[in-house]
């Protein structure tokens, strides 16, 4: 019998290109990409995402990207906020430090995927995690790869997550 409280977990999906990708990707890449996806996990009333500066948190929809394009319901979790903060802190000290950010291999969506699995056991939709490989499979992506590799996406509006809201 499950007596503990459950907390809803949502995935906020943003198209960073604001529709440009949908329009321009056939031209530029040769294949249709519906968006350049940035994702964040919203749980316990906060939005958490990973960027070039590490894990950040903010009010849901509080980055400069505004409101999300899509909200995916990932289910619920029993993980309390406290445990979640511990978890995020550990992550932020290890695999998800700011300098570990890689646009193609280890980006915001990687983070969201991992956190989603931690919280709910569910993965995030495949079209998001497949984006890097989709781009890299085009000649354009390959050509721009050196440039893109050096890019760190960090939507402004979040506060750097340092665990326990600074109490540490």
């Amino acid at each position: 019998m499950d007596q503990s409280t459950v907390y809803p977990v949502k995935l906020y999906v943003y198209d960073m290109s604001k529709g440009m990708a949908r329009q321009l990707s056939p031209i530029m890449l040769g294949k249709q990409l519906d968006g350049i996806w940035h994702t964040a996990i919203v749980v316990h009333g906060d939005e958490f995402f990973y960027g070039g500066e590490g894990i950040s948190s903010c009010q849901p929809g509080g980055t400069v990207l505004g409101a999300p394009n899509t909200v995916v319901d990932l289910g619920t979790t029993e993980v309390t906020e406290e445990i979640f903060m511990d978890y995020l802190t550990s992550l932020g000290e290890s695999t998800y430090r700011g300098d570990r950010y890689r646009l193609f291999e280890h980006n915001c969506n990687t983070f969201s995927n991992e956190v989603a699995q931690f919280l709910t056991g569910a993965k995030i939709p495949a079209y998001i995690t497949d984006l890097p490989s989709e781009v890299l499979s085009t000649p354009f992506g390959q050509a721009l790869r050196p440039i893109l590799d050096s890019i760190h996406i960090q939507p402004p509006g979040g506060n750097h997550f340092n665990g326990h809201y600074g109490q540490r």
Binding site: M20, I27, H44, A67, S150
Partner: protein
């Protein structure tokens, strides 16, 4: 019951499953009996991870695994991953956070929805700032709603971008955007690929010409990247345009220009961008089009560094971003009928000349012109001032390559942009004009002297022969005077001070014994630097 497990346990269930325990920092595989309890599992884990059992929190499928549960109860089977968090101390704000989090999560959801509806209801018809061209490039911009309609989207994006200049700055600073902007081929592809752009190109072939010119594209991109440069150029253009307005008849020319050129483009562009991204194109036409039509600066030259007028500021802010595709477009727009009338007007506007010369893109345009002599030839020949005088046209055509080369000469350019030098030249020309008017007989064969000046120090045999053949007869002199007057009012790209230009020839003449420097100079001007012809003239007019 066969027990093949490695871990000792009190369970009677045989099956051992492999479960991966994943912490934020590492993961380990555990082989445990299927029906082991969580408590037992935690014991194993605490040994492996060297943590106290109290600090272990196991999570699977979003559920916290309690000690008394069993693995199979949570459907933890072989090969699955369980998450582990090692707790630290509990915090007192936990309860407060939990209660507030539940309320904020519900309110957050509500506010998100309301925000999305309000944004989507934002009117898409308000005119954007012509960011269309540039907006297509900044693919990493992050404001606005995702709309399927391209133009609506552009509008929205522009609105948001303009309302948040920081975002714009950030976009421009984004190295991806900058790198993309610095690649002219890519830019060209992007621009051309836009179907509305293709329409525009069809209607105005000059655009495709501009697009195909890598120099112009590069300059455009430079401008797009450097907002300061863009502002500067916009200021120049605005000033030039306002100057153009102030001269008599200028306004009409502007209007004509607008209706001939800008309106069709505006209409074409409006379908796409909801605005006129080529607004500054018109400015460019005004400024760029007068390149072949040099004029004398009769008025004191304005201070090019004066702060721009308030009116031009508003228009410049509106058209700042439209400058991106436009600079250098002027080069391709010369041959339209509206341009020609404009050229006429421009020749009477000395201020415009100065402004234009100080515009940074002039150099690149001259570059492209010199590389493309056909275009330059066309440009010159279409000049209405020339159309009445085929002789002049001929000469211009011949002198074109030379004059273009000379315009490349940085000395020339610096002299041209030096207001004092220009003024000096003006004085000389004025003097000549006065002389011609007052005493036409005094300076025979003076016609076309300035056009000859186009050739500068280069040889101008045609002029020499021309003027020498016109040596006699008062009617001939009248012709000269008229032609000279025409030439004075006609384009004179070579504005370098004749003294400087003819330094060498002057020395030659003085060495030969022609000591009257003034007369020498005038003769040289008349013959365009041809020493022999100058000597002839000097000998003909005044015995030395």
């Amino acid at each position: 019951m066969a027990e093949s497990g490695e871990t000792p346990g009190p369970s009677s269930d045989p099956k051992i499953i492999k479960v991966t325990v994943k912490t934020p920092k590492e993961k380990e595989e555990f082989a445990v009996p299927e029906n082991s309890t969580i408590k037992q599992f935690k014991e194993d884990i605490s040994k492996r991870f060297k943590t106290q059992i109290d600090q272990l929190v196991l999570i699977f499928a979003g559920k916290i695994l309690k000690d008394q549960d069993s693995l199979s109860q949570h459907a933890i089977h072989d090969g699955m991953t369980v998450h582990l968090v090692m707790k630290t101390q509990t915090r007192s704000q936990d309860h407060a956070a939990q209660s507030s989090s539940s309320s904020t999560s519900s309110s957050a959801a509500a506010s998100t929805e309301s925000r999305s509806t309000s944004t989507s209801s934002m009117p898409a018809s308000s005119s954007p700032l012509g960011l269309g061209g540039l907006g297509g490039l900044a693919s990493l911009s992050g404001l606005g709603m995702n709309l399927s309609n391209f133009s609506e989207l552009q509008t929205q994006m522009q609105q948001q971008l303009m309302s948040n200049p920081e975002m714009m700055a950030q976009i421009m600073e984004n190295p991806f955007v900058q790198n993309m902007l610095s690649n002219p081929d890519l830019m060209r592809q992007l621009i051309v690929a836009n179907p509305q752009m293709q329409q525009l190109i069809q209607r105005n072939p000059e655009i495709s010409h501009m697009l195909n010119n890598p120099d112009i594209m590069r300059q455009t991109l430079e401008l797009a990247r450097n907002p300061a440069m863009m502002q500067e150029m916009m200021r120049n253009q605005d000033r030039a345009l306002s100057n153009l307005e102030s001269i008599p008849g200028g306004y009409n020319a502007l209007r004509r220009m607008y209706t001939d050129i800008q309106e069709p483009m505006l209409n074409a562009a409006q379908e796409q961008f909801g605005g006129n991204p080529f607004a500054s194109l018109v400015n460019n036409l005004a400024a760029g089009g007068s390149q072949p039509s040099r004029t004398e600066n009769r008025d004191p030259l304005p201070n090019p560094w004066a702060p721009p007028a308030a009116s031009s500021q508003t228009s410049s802010s509106a058209s700042t971003t439209t400058a991106a595709p436009s600079p250098g477009l002027g080069a391709g727009m010369f041959n339209t009928p509206g341009m020609q009338s404009l050229l006429q007007q421009i020749t009477e506007n000395p201020q415009l000349m100065q402004n234009m010369l100080s515009a940074p893109y002039m150099r690149s345009m001259m570059n492209s012109l010199s590389h493309n002599p056909d275009l330059a030839a066309q440009m010159m020949l279409n000049n209405p001032l020339f159309s009445g005088n085929p002789q002049l046209q001929e000469q211009m055509r011949q002198q074109l390559p030379v004059s273009l080369q000379q315009m490349q000469n940085p000395e020339t350019l610096s002299a041209m942009s030096n207001p004092r030098a220009v003024q000096a030249l003006l004085q000389i020309q004025q003097g000549l004009q006065t002389l011609a008017a007052e005493a036409p007989g005094f300076i025979p064969g003076f016609g076309q002297g300035n056009v000859g000046g186009v050739g500068g120090t280069g040889s101008t045999p045609s002029i020499g022969s021309d003027t020498s053949s016109q040596g006699s007869g008062e009617t001939g002199q009248q012709q000269f005077v008229q032609q000279m007057l025409q030439a004075l009012a006609s384009p004179n790209p070579q504005m370098q001070s004749p003294e400087v230009r003819f330094q060498q020839q002057l020395e030659q003449l003085s060495a030969m014994g022609f000591l009257n420097r003034e007369a020498n100079l005038q003769a040289l001007i008349a013959t365009g630097g041809d020493v022999n012809a100058a000597i002839e003239r000097l000998l003909g007019s005044q015995p030395s």
